[in-house]
């Protein structure tokens, strides 16, 4: 029932992107995001803006092909934010000032500029989600948090508990599938006793989840307790003097990915701002 959720899902593979160091991928994801927002959207003629977005779309598509992840899967990530995209588009279409599409009637509220802004906004959001989801689709949660921990290391001197933050994230990510499975199991057990989650009004439906939530909380606390005991039994004491079994290593692979990405965006922005 509930297993269809693809939250932060990792898809195994051995592409260049899968093998790259998580730190490289995290930093490049930031580069990608920043570049996406630096693309000039007020260039004249408007075709220049579209050319910029076409280039980024092509780049993103290329990255998906390299990763070997089915295109369908990356697009699936857009589903939850579809509402936001449509909403943004509607607001932009109706509120931007400029030349009306048609002089009279309802159509006079719609402007050419509005339509352009709407399309650009939607493209930007969609590319943002797809690009960043490529990070989680090609990186295991454990590696991802390892990478974050390493990247936060310099801030440790300022009192940032990098290791503890990373550990909390690892544990949270680790237990998402477990909790989903547990929810599924409890929902099945309660359905077998006659519980009904799909009918009735909003309040009735919310109430029908009490038989799921109570056992779920009970088991989550039990699990947390057991995990804490297990960690203590293995002498876990936080970050002090802790070494890693798997050391993260930057390789030639990372250099190639990083330079290709940076070169691409540098050229793109240079062209956009110079011409």
């Amino acid at each position: 029932m509930i297993k269809d959720i693809t939250l932060g899902q990792y898809i195994p593979g051995d592409s260049v992107l899968h093998k790259a160091d998580p730190r490289t991928k995290i930093i490049l994801a930031f580069v990608y995001m920043i570049a996406l927002f630096m693309i000039k959207t007020n260039a004249v003629p408007i075709i220049k803006v579209y050319a910029g977005f076409a280039a980024v779309t092509f780049f993103t598509f290329l990255a998906i092909v390299v990763s070997g992840i089915p295109l369908k899967y990356t697009l699936k990530g857009l589903k939850p934010i579809l509402v936001i995209i449509v909403f943004t588009m509607l607001i932009n279409i109706f509120t931007t000032n400029g030349t009306p599409v048609y002089p009279t009637g309802l159509l006079s509220k719609i402007t050419v500029e509005g339509i352009n802004t709407a399309i650009i906004m939607a493209l930007r959001l969609a590319l943002l989600i797809i690009g960043v989801s490529l990070l989680t689709l090609t990186t295991t949660p454990i590696l991802l948090t390892d990478g974050i921990e390493k990247l936060l290391q310099p801030f440790k001197k300022m009192g940032l508990p990098a290791h503890e933050l990373a550990m909390m994230m690892t544990i949270a990510l680790r237990f998402i599938p477990t909790l989903l499975e547990e929810t599924d199991k409890i929902m099945k057990a309660q359905s077998a006793r006659g519980a009904d989650f799909d009918t009735g009004n909003l309040i009735q439906r919310a109430k029908s989840f009490i038989p799921v939530l109570v056992p779920l909380f009970v088991s989550a606390f039990r699990r947390a307790d057991e995990l804490a005991t297990a960690m203590e039994a293995r002498c876990y004491r936080g970050s002090m003097g802790r070494t890693r079994m798997r050391q993260l290593k930057l390789g030639g692979n990372d250099a190639v990915i990083a330079s290709v990405t940076c070169m691409f965006f540098a050229c793109l922005l240079l062209l956009q701002y110079a011409i």
């Binding site: 269809d4 057990a189 359905s191 077998a192 006793r193 519980a195």
Partner: protein, 285 residues
């Protein structure tokens, strides 16, 4: 109530890279009033199969018919009253403030009037061997064994015609196990309901059921009487199972004492056979 399964296949996470064929073209018929056991290695599809019996899972292909009703139909409420499933570690589903309310949950959902609920609960609490004064306690303050019984009582309260038990005694001590199997067997004998027992313990299966269904990799590997199945330990071992330990002992004894009866799968029967054998020897001497 009878269960008929025809060419049932089930695929988990269909249409994703994680697609997995969990049941592979299964056909099966379980008659009304049968007491059957399902054994199989972890991941062999036992739990997936039993979840089809009350419509929690819908067949990817093929069909499941319970008492002439197809489980793909709309009337799940009716179906779920007739087919009770006790899942593994059922005590994890307890949630109400009192034991009484928890057992009543299913009955209330079925729309059964208040005045009929109380007698039903009193009856079922007696069946599972609990005291009446437990009813007003919180289910979370009970012992593990008591919780398990309360959870089972919640399913039994609906008086299902088919009862499926998935490892009902996992994690219990021998006494708790014997007591639970005691009332399950008693219910089968007195009420004549159809019972399916999923278990990893060959000893329990041999002791309780008459028919054994062996599953492996989503298929039914063997299906027959207890003696037919457990007389082929090699076939069972090949798929990660075994015969009850006592039957290995009896086969070893048979190789030294050829005229002993080795068609024995429970400790109790083995004791009887050995006593008979020894008294025969004594008479001869």
């Amino acid at each position: 109530m009878a269960i008929v399964v025809e060419n049932l296949s089930y695929i988990y996470m269909k249409g994703t890279p994680f697609e997995k064929l969990a049941l592979d073209n299964i056909s099966l018929k379980i008659d009304s009033g049968e007491f059957a056991g399902i054994i199989g290695h972890t991941g062999s599809g036992k739990s997936t199969l039993v979840q089809h019996f009350n419509g929690l899972l819908k067949p990817s292909s093929g069909r499941v018919v319970i008492n002439e009703t197809d489980t793909a139909g709309k009337n799940l409420k009716e179906l779920r009253r007739h087919v009770g499933i006790v899942f593994q570690y059922p005590e994890h589903q307890l949630f109400e403030e009192t034991v009484y309310k928890d057992i009543a949950f299913g009955l209330v959902k079925q729309g059964i009037p208040e005045e009929k609920i109380r007698p039903a609960i009193l009856e079922v609490i007696r069946i599972v061997g609990l005291d009446e004064d437990i009813l007003e306690k919180s289910p979370f303050e009970l012992s593990g064994g008591q919780k398990r019984r309360v959870a089972i009582a919640g399913v039994l309260a609906m008086k299902p015609g088919i009862l499926v038990l998935d490892e009902p005694t996992a994690g219990l001590d021998p006494r708790g196990r014997d007591e639970i199997f005691g009332f399950i067997k008693n219910m089968h004998d007195t009420l004549g309901i159809t019972i399916l027992l999923v278990s990893h313990s060959m000893e329990d299966i041999a002791r309780l059921v008459k028919r054994v269904i062996v599953m492996n990799k989503g298929r039914i590997e063997m299906d027959g009487k207890v003696s037919d199945i457990f007389n082929r330990p090699e076939a069972l071992e090949k798929i990660g199972l075994s015969s009850p330990q006592i039957s290995y002992l009896m086969k070893r004894l048979k190789s030294v004492l050829p005229d002993i009866n080795d068609d024995v799968f429970t400790v109790k029967d083995a004791r009887d056979v050995l006593i008979r054998y020894l008294s025969r020897q004594e008479r001869k001497a």
